[in-house]
Amino acid sequence: MRIRALVRRIVLQLVRDKRTLALLFIAPLLILTLMHFLFTSNGVPSKIGIEGLSSEMVERLEKLEIDVVSFQETSDIEDTIIDNELDGYLVSEGETLSLTVENTDPSRSNLLQAKIQQAISSGPSELVESGFKTNYIYGSEHTSFFDVLSPILVGFFVFFFVFLISGIGLLRERMTGTLERLLSTPIRRWEIVVGYLIGYGLFAIIQTIIVVVYAVNVLDMVLVGSIWHVLVTNVLIALVALSLGILLSSFAASEFQMIQFIPLVIVPQVFFTGIIPIAGMPEWLQIFSKVMPISYGANALKSIMYKGTGLSEVLTDLLVLIGFATVFIALNIVALKKYREI
């Protein structure tokens, strides 16, 4: 009952704070949109050559806005692609499919691959099993960059805004003296922490839904996996951000000091999300990525959105996120001892 009152109060306060609500729900959309236009090539549909594909497969490809040109037995795929100004060439070789991409624009190649993957996924299962292999005319698979960025961005925004707003929420309560007054009532310390988690958690879930739905439907972000899996992962990321935000707020004496945690806590996490390939870092630096909650969230989101894996494949990442949240929540309950012994 106390927790319910606390949740109700937090919801009321946030609903009345229109500006914070806008920051929480609209700012991520604005930034995502901007990033989208910065990083994706214009909407010219991909054009590929095909050879020996079933008519159902062709239909599925066309549904995904790919211009399909049929060819008979080409001797040189590379020449055909270049002469006909194609983005790629898809050949059926018995059981497996083989794609050759032109790849001067890696993000375009990635989009094409994702779409073909999508087309295969919705087809018969033996094709899904064998997948397809990709050959590159220019560059290699390592040139991919920006499409990997989008799942990371989704996770990052959820983390950042939830961290900031929940942290400042508790901080304000501490500074105005209402926390002291709250602790002069028989409420238990864990009830405060749980109340905060649920209260701000509700807004974090709404934010996640808005961001993901917008990114996938409006910005056409690549989403091979299930949107539900993306939501589950994001809710866990939000939980970690929430508990870390309110924990760090007890080390800040003012809103300004809370902002100072951004370069200290948030910015380093960005570097370890996979925007900069972790595998290429020196070993001692890689260890850092192990203690960055976002790196696990980003990894899970990348797998689900980009590679289309299910929750079981990213279970380790999700468990680590739950672990982080559990530790932070426990520390929060202990940290409140500073204000009341029992």
Binding site: R181, T185, I342
Partner: protein, 246 residues
């Protein structure tokens, strides 16, 4: 009946001693004033009585129970120096929120809220957001919050600091009424001497030590002076002299 008993309480942070052997008690239906300048340790005493801070030595008993005890917090109405209200919520929502913390039934909540709102005369503004309140209205709402669970013991830290004389008068009238009609025990901290006159019992504090205790009249007679200000100076001087000898 003794409602509060502070027993030989000392408190130090590292080498810095804030309280030294503080001892006093409060009987039911009494207003006890903790008198002393800012920084003398009044707020620390209150924090220790509330169980928010723990003493380095000594102990505190409230209503025959050892502090700290979570159950005791229902028995103590607490009003801090700052107003400590949720600015985005209305006065009514603030009261409902704090009432919920004491697990009152809906009916009980309604009764208590209308009672305390009437008491502090905030009926007309109770549905407005606290952010729109004047300083005096916030103070009154803060007092109403402290009274919401109908506690036998009220602890008010500088309840009249920074408010106009008229409101100060009305708050003191209210405290006297609560004492007389509802037999509440009230602990008040202040550094204003004319407020001290209104207390039944005074505990004068300087640099973390109790320099003298007693009713205002008894103190003035003992020290053969006419004002409490002089009592404070004289008692403080003696304690100081005593301290330097020992």
């Amino acid at each position: 009946m003794s409602v509060l008993h502070v027993n030989n309480v000392s408190k130090s942070y590292g080498k810095h001693q804030i309280l030294c052997n503080v001892q006093f008690s409060a009987q039911q239906g009494q207003i006890v004033g903790l008198i002393g300048p800012s920084g003398s340790g009044k707020t620390t005493i209150i924090k220790i009585v509330m169980g928010m801070d723990h003493p380095s030595a000594g102990n505190v008993e409230v209503l025959q129970k050892q502090v700290p005890d979570l159950r005791l917090l229902k028995q103590i109405g607490y009003m801090a120096q700052s107003d400590a209200l949720y600015q985005d919520l209305t006065g009514y929502e603030n009261l409902t929120f704090f009432a919920s913390m004491f697990l009152m039934s809906k009916k009980e909540q309604q009764e208590r809220i209308s009672y305390v709102v009437n008491l502090v005369q905030l009926e007309s503004a109770i549905k407005k957001r606290v952010a729109t309140y004047s300083g005096g209205m916030k103070r009154r709402l803060s007092l109403a919050v402290a009274l919401i669970q109908n506690p036998p013991l009220l602890i008010l830290d500088e309840p009249t600091v920074g408010i106009d004389p008229e409101l100060r008068k009305s708050i003191w009238q209210e405290l006297t009424r609560l004492k007389n009609e509802e037999q509440k025990t009230i602990i008040v901290t202040t550094h204003v001497m004319d407020e001290a006159e209104k207390c039944d019992d005074l505990v004068m504090i300087r640099e973390g030590r109790v320099i003298t205790t007693g009713s205002p009249q008894k103190l003035k007679d003992d020290y053969q002076v006419t004002t409490l200000e002089e009592v404070f100076l004289k008692a403080g001087g003696e304690a100081h002299a005593h301290q330097s000898i020992s």
